[in-house]
Structures are given as C-alpha cells and as structure tokens.
Symmetry: C2
Subunit: 223 residues, 2 copies
Amino acid sequence: MRIALLGGTGDIGEGLALRFARDTDHEVLVGSRDPEKARDAVEEYEETLAEHGEGDPDLNGFANEMAADRADVVVLSVPPYYAGDTVEAVADSLDEDTILVTPAVGMQGDEDGMHYHPPGTGSVTELVAQRAPDEVPVVGAYHNLAAGKLADLEVEFDLDTLVVADNEDAKTTVRQLTAEIEGLRALDAGPLANAAEVESVTPLVINIARYNDELEDVGAKWV
Amino acid sequence: MRIALLGGTGDIGEGLALRFARDTDHEVLVGSRDPEKARDAVEEYEETLAEHGEGDPDLNGFANEMAADRADVVVLSVPPYYAGDTVEAVADSLDEDTILVTPAVGMQGDEDGMHYHPPGTGSVTELVAQRAPDEVPVVGAYHNLAAGKLADLEVEFDLDTLVVADNEDAKTTVRQLTAEIEGLRALDAGPLANAAEVESVTPLVINIARYNDELEDVGAKWV
C-alpha cells in the first residue's frame, strides 16, 4: 500500500513517516507544499533510519498533490488551520479508492493550559469530511499521539490511537495499517460524530505533560 | 481523615467507599438523601469487605448533610443534574477546612455514542465551584474512573485519575489521599479552568467500551 503524509515534514508527519518506513512494508510518500522541502525531509529521515539499521527504506518526497495522487491512504498531517484548505488543494487527486486520514485538532491556549476549540462543524475531523469530495472516505486517527516519542526511534512505546469513521471498510484498513506500527494499538471510537471527544484528548495530554514533572510527551492507553 | 461520599450509594460512590475502606485508614462516611438508604448501603459494603478479609472497616452511613458536616473531604458522587442542588443542600455543613471534590460530568447520548455536554459554566466542575460557598476549596477528581472495576474488589487495576483545582493545598491533599488507593495514580491536570478537557474523557471511555468488544468498563492510563 502507498501511504502519503501530507505535511510530512511536521512533527506528527515525521514520526508517522519514520515508523511506517521502519515497521511496515508499505511505501511512504512524504508530501509538502514545496516538493524540495519534502525531498530534504526524506533525506533526513533516511539518515535517521540508516542509523537504526534500516538501510533501504521505501520513502519518497513529493509535492502534496503528487503524493496524494499516488497514494491509497492520505494522512493530512498539517496544522488544523490548514486542514480544510489542504483538502481542497488535493481534492482532484482523491477518489473513492483513496482513504483520507485526519489527525488535526483545534486548540487554544491560555495561562491555565490548552483548551479544546472545535470549529462550527463540531470537530476538525468533521470539517475535513465536509470539505472532502463526497465519494472520499474520511477517517479520523492519530489525534493524540505523542509526537516526540513517535519521531524518536530509540523510544519503544505502548500507546493507543482512536479511530473514527462512517465508512467501516476505510476504518478497518486504517486500523490494520496502524497496528503494523510496533507498540501502537488502533481502537475504534465509532463514527465521525464521535470525533470531538477524541480530539479533546489532545489539549488534555499537553496539560498533563505541563503539570506533572515526571511525564513528558504524554499519550494515552485505554485499559 | 474523614471522607464523606455524598450519593455514596451510587456506582462511583460504592467503588470509592469500598476502596477507601479497604486500602486506607481513613473513616468513610457514606451519605444519601435518605439516611436509611445510606445505612443499608454501609451494611452491604461491610459484607463485601468482610468477604475480602476486611472484617472491621471504618464505614458509617448518614444523611448527606450530616456526612458533610463530619467530613474533612466531601466527594459529591451524585448524578450531574443533582450536583449543584446537592452543594446548596449541604452548604451550611461546608467551610474553608472542608475540601469539596466533584467527579460529575455532563453528557448526552445519541445513536452514535456519548457526547460531552457541559453546562454554561464550561464544566460541571466549575459549576460546583460556583455554587459552593466562596471559602470552600473545590477539587475536580474521579471523573473518568471505571466504576465497575472500582466497585469489584476482585479487580486489581492500574489506572489514573486527573485532578484539577485552583487551591494547591486542597489539590495536594486529594492527590495524596487518592494515591492511597491501590493501583490508582492521581495526576495534576492544572486549575479548574482545565476541567472541561478532563470531563470530556468520560463520554469517550464509554464510546471506547461500546465499539471495542475486547474492552469493557474502560479507564485511562497516561503514559
């Protein structure tokens, strides 16, 4: 399978690129608005992977549109305020056979901490679903991953990610794909309408890391 | 220390009563609007504790007002729509030396799952703080505990609860008290203004239990 990480030069994109490249046999397409930046990131990721014994990873850099066009699964790992626009920018590269995965979360910080700040659609996940072409199956996942842990291949984690979708086949594909990453379990959190409660965990884990010295880069395990 | 569990005949109240009675040396006061019901619950809890080798637990049943009056820590383990009224009903029994702990969460369900539905104050925790007398320190805790696991003394768990408060001394007391329960870690989630993100986890764990056959009565571990 081909997995495109649009905005794959950002923190969550980097972690997913490295982990998918190391732990699975799938081809990883790193996307950026600037294809040069995508290729630079790929070079950097290849070096990191080589340092960890992965000499020949299946990893390539492209402009977002090209990455989306070639992929079976497109992960929208861009900041939340770019999520809608990025979907529209790559819309012509998507079809009913391309699964669109969105990890973005709307947050606002104040002196107390981070707070969940969803758009009028109820969640960024549902906003992406609204902006995507009707035939494209949209899946919410990777909202609450500890990005630092993900991007540091020295770290062995035991974490969960929560997956929401209305299209059950797309949800199953993303859950199976995700479970191929070592130490990552993909749980079902129901349909897209349940995305807000999933997204709310992202400001929460930031607050937990801030207020507990013994924890940093916090993720969740549901037990 | 004396811990009152108002609404201590309900599911979260039962679990906290049993665990505090078994795992700590503190006196547990089970409160109910009807003192007879509180005393019946205490009898039942004593039987359960005896079955688990705790023959002489420090457990007593009272009307809510009386339980609050005698306690150092008052846990408002009532349904969310009674939380505000219960605070007002026991307000005369509270003072600056009584810590008021609120675990209640506002939720609404539909065919997709449970959704977070906070009151206008932003969270039930903040609503309780508003309705409590000014001098009473209010702490949010126990929002996301797996009530079934808590109430079943056969179950050994390894769970976290998140604690929010503006009064740092009160927060520390509740965190220390909570950590005396075996397998329970009390993390700091910041001031009361961060309560909404903590409360949002409650509908989420219900959704996770619903959509994943291998999980029931789900709690969280922050790692």
